[in-house]
Amino acid sequence: MTAEHDAETRVDAQTDDLEEVAAGSETADGVDTSVHSDETQPNTEGPVEEVIEGDPDAEDHAETASDDHAGGTADRARGSSFRVRAGVLIGVLVALLGFAIAVQVRSNSSSDSLSGAREEDLIRILDDQNLQAARLRQQIADLQLTVGQLQAGGDRNSVALQQAEQQLAALGVLLGTLPATGPGVVVTVTDPARKLQPEDLLDIVQELRGAGAEAIQFGGVRVGVSTSFTAAPSGVQVDDAVEQPPYVVRAIGDPKTLDTALNIPGGVAATARAAGGDAAVAEMQRVTITALRQLPNPKYASPSGR
């Protein structure tokens, strides 16, 4: 095999390779015909001149270029058609490059940067997001706990408030600062001879208290812890008010018990009868006591804690 033949076949191989790259813009037959027709045209450039380029495989080319000197006219003709197609190829490639640059710049500047991120970056981002979600969930749990505690505290407070209100109502009724209603008795004490002493009237109140009366009104005065009975010219002075016979005493409590307590032998009713008067006890299903007392305001005593 001569050197010339060798070079020619090698050039042929080159053209075939390039045709593959060029994606079949020209057929192999087309190459042959063009080669024959262009054979006589002068050709100053071609494979002969391919020497070096700013490229790593420049050395290989330096070798092949020296071989190509033996190519002859056929080689030059092939080089001419090769140049045309190479120009087209370069144009296509550079156009592709421009296209790719534009596309990449556009896709890079678009907001959806995650779609182009690589797997490990995505995993890192996902981890970050998961961590953040866990932190936020922890925060939610903490806050929910706080909400529960506050609600429980509110419940305790409302229970305490309810108890305090109940206490206030009970104490108000017992102290005489609130009006009261309920079953009880109305005692009407007559004393035409004016012989009943304040002690006798106090006995009525004591007897009623002893029988469990919860609220007592003597005439127009609500009976409280500090109520006093004092003699007065026309009757009896209860606290600041002077009461005259007949005395009407209203008491809230169990009517039967109160009635019994007042009518025991030698009791209040007997005393009144002995004095020439009477003590009529009427059991009522509903006795209403409207007289009120001022809330005592202790000057010296204060709660001493529990």
Binding site: I52, G54, I90, A95, I101, A102, Q104, G116
Partner: protein
Amino acid sequence: MIAAIALVVGIVLGLVLRPTVPSWLEPYLPIAVVAALDAVFGGIRARLDGLFDAKVFVISFVSNVLVAALIVFLGDKLGVGAALSTAVVVVLGIRIFGNAAAIRRHIFRA
């Protein structure tokens, strides 16, 4: 000249057509662009040196792109994709700078 026109045509086409990059291509496109830029700068330098060869240019262009993409692909498979693509960009960047320096010496004689 043809190459410059083709570059402009390609950029205009890319801007006008607004194609979306398929997701499998996304990691490789920037590297491929840088590799191609390296080949283009090498080609310009060779042109200025009077040594330009179309075949070398075409082959180096294609092989640069393919090798760069292959390296990134391998890196992704090996789990060092980010580091390897950085490495490729650095190497290609150095080459581009070298070629640019040669071009500069040619044009400005400095």
